[in-house]
């Protein structure tokens, strides 16, 4: 059996998975997670390499049986040349030829993609998007980005930076133009609403509002707790019926719906898959998102486009970097 190592380099954690390629879906044999060292790329690279060897050793796999290495991390990056440029969540990483380093170490080809593209590939090949020619994957986690499979292949765009859907809409306010009246409810880019940090920030604003009006907020009993609010604590409160929490998720899902409408109009895809927070909290987000999508898009494209949570679920994070390698082999 041949094996592929998948490496997901995140701002806080790095995860390495070892996958066997015998069957139709890559089998995750084992994995290691560790804190991404804060001391820059050299020490991180070293711990990545050490942990790869550890994984291989622990499972009694010889490096000869390693077929390839797939890497995903946040952008910006140069996928074609395997270079991590300077992602905001990895300070000190500047033009790092990560693929070359790993190729030299393991003598197998290494491939790099950003997170959204890696997830799009994984869902397309093994998840909810199997058999589709045109699909969009939306990360709805730390950030809000899109990965595209278009005309049956990964679409990276000019200079490989496509998918910055989180920046969309930001043009429409704040530049003092005629069509940006105050109080339009459009006070930020999509990322400000459709991401973990966006939801938490929105939660703080709304909680403060409620507290000032003397109303109960179960996820934030008093203003001293504002900084501890996370998307997760708001979600739990929303599931328990807390009004303020439900409002946060409704606003977020309406913005998500606008993003879905924009995507269906412009790209007319068969499928949009939404990861992370949407996959975990589908019940909180689905209804209002789909309603808004329907209201704001042309009926034909909208009715032809399915919207689904990740088909690989919790496995997605492990399989995505592996798929980066599989797609390029």
């Amino acid at each position: 059996m041949e094996y592929i190592i998948g490496i997901d380099i995140g701002g806080t954690k790095t995860a390495i998975s070892l996958a066997g390629t015998g069957s139709d879906i890559p089998q995750i044999v084992d994995g290691i997670r560790f804190e991404t060292p804060k001391s820059g790329y050299a020490s991180t690279l070293q711990s990545i390499i050490d942990n790869c060897y550890k994984l291989l050793d622990n499972n009694g796999i010889l490096t000869e049986n390693l077929r390839a290495v797939g890497i995903c991390c946040g952008g910006p990056l140069d996928a074609e040349n395997g270079i991590i440029l300077s992602p905001p969540n990895l300070p000190g990483w500047d033009h790092i030829p990560i693929c070359r380093h790993l190729e030299e170490e393991f003598s197998v080809p290494a491939f790099l993609e950003n997170d959204a593209n890696a997830c799009a590939l994984a869902e397309w090949k093994f998840g909810a998007g199997r058999g589709c020619s045109n699909l969009v994957f939306l990360t709805f986690g730390t950030g809000f980005g899109a990965g595209f499979i278009l005309n049956g292949q990964l679409y990276r765009g000019a200079n490989g930076m496509a998918g910055e859907i989180g920046h969309c809409e930001s043009f429409w306010h704040g530049d003092g133009n005629l069509y940006c009246p105050v109080g339009h409810g459009r006070s930020g880019s999509l990322e400000g609403f459709c991401s973990g940090s966006g939801i938490a920030e929105l939660g703080r604003t709304i909680a403060l509002q409620y507290i000032q009006q003397g109303r109960q907020v179960s996820f934030c009993p008093d203003p001293g707790n504002l900084q501890n609010i996370t998307a997760q604590t708001i979600a739990s409160a929303a599931y328990a019926g807390d009004e303020a929490a439900r409002r946060v998720y409704r606003i977020s899902s309406e913005k998500l719906g606008s993003a879905l409408a924009l995507l269906t109009d412009i790209l007319n895809p068969e499928l949009i898959i939404i990861g992370s927070i949407y996959t975990r909290s589908t019940d909180l987000l689905r209804e209002a998102a789909l309603r808004t999508m329907q209201e704001q898009s042309l009926p034909l494209s909208c009715s032809a486009c399915r919207v689904l949570p990740s088909g690989l679920g919790e496995q997605l994070a492990d399989i995505a970097p592996v798929c980066v390698a599989i797609n390029s082999l």
Partner: protein
């Protein structure tokens, strides 16, 4: 009729090579040696294929290479014979309908006919088809080969079935099967496509594919259409329905649109929208061209402001699109190209101001299509069927 599926492998390969070599020759004069180098086929194989094409009359020898290659002989150049076949081109749009003819090289050979717009859909279709047949009979040499007819219309339009589905502000055409209706009236193969996609096809034939692998067409008339070329290929999404930008909202609390949405781009940045806004203030400003002329020639502040506003709406939409797709270029086609550098320049300035930080700005430019844009688009639909698909097999070539 031959189809790719009912012929054997060897034949498929031969046909594939014939089509590929012809496609290269259609891009401009080239020698047999050049063809061999580009395709990897042997010189005898190229000799056979081009011999067959010469006998078919679809290519011709077009003089010799200027430069002496040093070997003493200057290689003969081969080029496409545009008059080998003709294509009927029909465009149906909200503000005009027209018909014309182009040749195999994609040049419009008969100046397009425009019509006053009958209210009745059946009458409109009859008029278009009768005129086309008439043009072919009276203007082309007898027995000219008609490869097919391309018919384009605003979206959403399902290219494979030919069904027009709820095109906004185009109610009378809703639910019409354009393909069936045209086939009833015309004796040639008919192909339909969403007009902006067709124009992207025409543009794709003209632009350098290395320079512009990913680009968008903004087809700006009474409505605004979007055509996309991604990874060097036409992109249409499901069922060839194509892409839409005119009904994406730029202001959720804005003007109410006939599509049910609010603040659609069409209502602010189409030529019709600008004329509508202008006439509310000055009744004499009843055409897009008048507004542009007055802004440029008379330095009219009001007209200039209208165009500036239009440019900012378009720029906003383009920035959103570029955030999504990071494009090499965004190309403007349609009525808005009339003295279009003026508008283009305003858009460019807005976009470079907003994207300045990102270090990458797409080229904003006017379409390279000379002549009638819509009819070139309609022609390109059939040309791509001929050079890339099976239409090629039923046109009387000895393959």
């Amino acid at each position: 009729m031959k189809t790719i599926t009912n012929i054997n492998n060897k034949e498929t390969m031969h046909i594939g090579n014939y089509q590929r070599v012809l496609r290269i020759i259609s891009g401009g004069p080239i020698s047999r040696v050049g063809l061999s180098r580009l395709t990897g086929l042997t010189q005898p194989a190229i000799g056979n294929l081009t011999g067959q094409m010469l006998a078919d009359g679809i290519i011709e020898e077009a003089g010799k290479l200027q430069e002496d290659t040093g070997a003493g002989r200057r290689p003969v150049l081969l080029s496409l014979t545009p008059s080998w076949g003709y294509i009927g081109c029909i465009s149906i749009d909200r503000d005009e309908i027209c018909a014309g003819i182009c040749d195999l090289g994609g040049s419009i050979v008969l100046s397009p006919c425009y019509f006053p717009y009958p209210d009745d859909v059946e009458q409109t279709l009859d008029l278009l088809c009768d005129t086309l047949k008439d043009m072919i009979r009276t203007h082309l040499p007898a027995n000219s080969r008609i490869i097919g007819v391309g018919v384009i219309a605003p979206g959403p339009l399902n290219s494979s079935t030919g069904m027009m589905i709820n095109p906004p502000s185009f109610d009378r055409w809703n639910g019409l099967n354009l393909l069936d209706e045209m086939r009833k009236r015309l004796p040639w193969p008919v192909f339909t496509e969403h007009n902006s996609t067709a124009i992207a096809r025409a543009e794709l034939r003209l632009v350098s594919s290395e320079k512009y692998r990913n680009f968008a067409i903004y087809f700006i008339n009474a409505g605004i259409g979007l055509g996309l070329v991604l990874n060097g290929e036409i992109y249409t999404g499901i069922d060839g329905i194509g892409c839409e930008i005119g009904h994406t909202s730029i202001d959720v609390n804005g003007r109410l649109c006939s599509c049910g949405n609010r603040g659609c781009l069409d209502l602010y940045a189409s030529t019709a929208a600008v004329v509508h806004d202008a006439r509310r203030v000055d009744g004499s400003l009843d055409s897009w061209r008048k507004i542009v002329d007055r802004a440029i020639d008379s330095c009219d502040r009001f007209c200039d402001e209208l165009l500036k506003l239009q440019a900012s709406y378009l720029a906003g939409s383009m920035i959103n699109l570029d955030n999504l797709l990071t494009l090499d270029a965004i190309i403007i086609a349609g009525q808005a190209t009339y003295r279009g550098e003026y508008l283009c320049d305003k858009i460019r300035r807005r976009i470079s101001r907003s994207l300045a930080g990102s270090g990458r700005v797409p080229d904003i430019r006017l379409s390279s299509i000379s002549g009638h844009t819509s009819l070139s688009g309609a022609g390109a639909v059939v040309l791509s069927q001929f050079f890339y698909n099976e239409l090629f097999l039923s046109c009387g070539l000895t393959i």
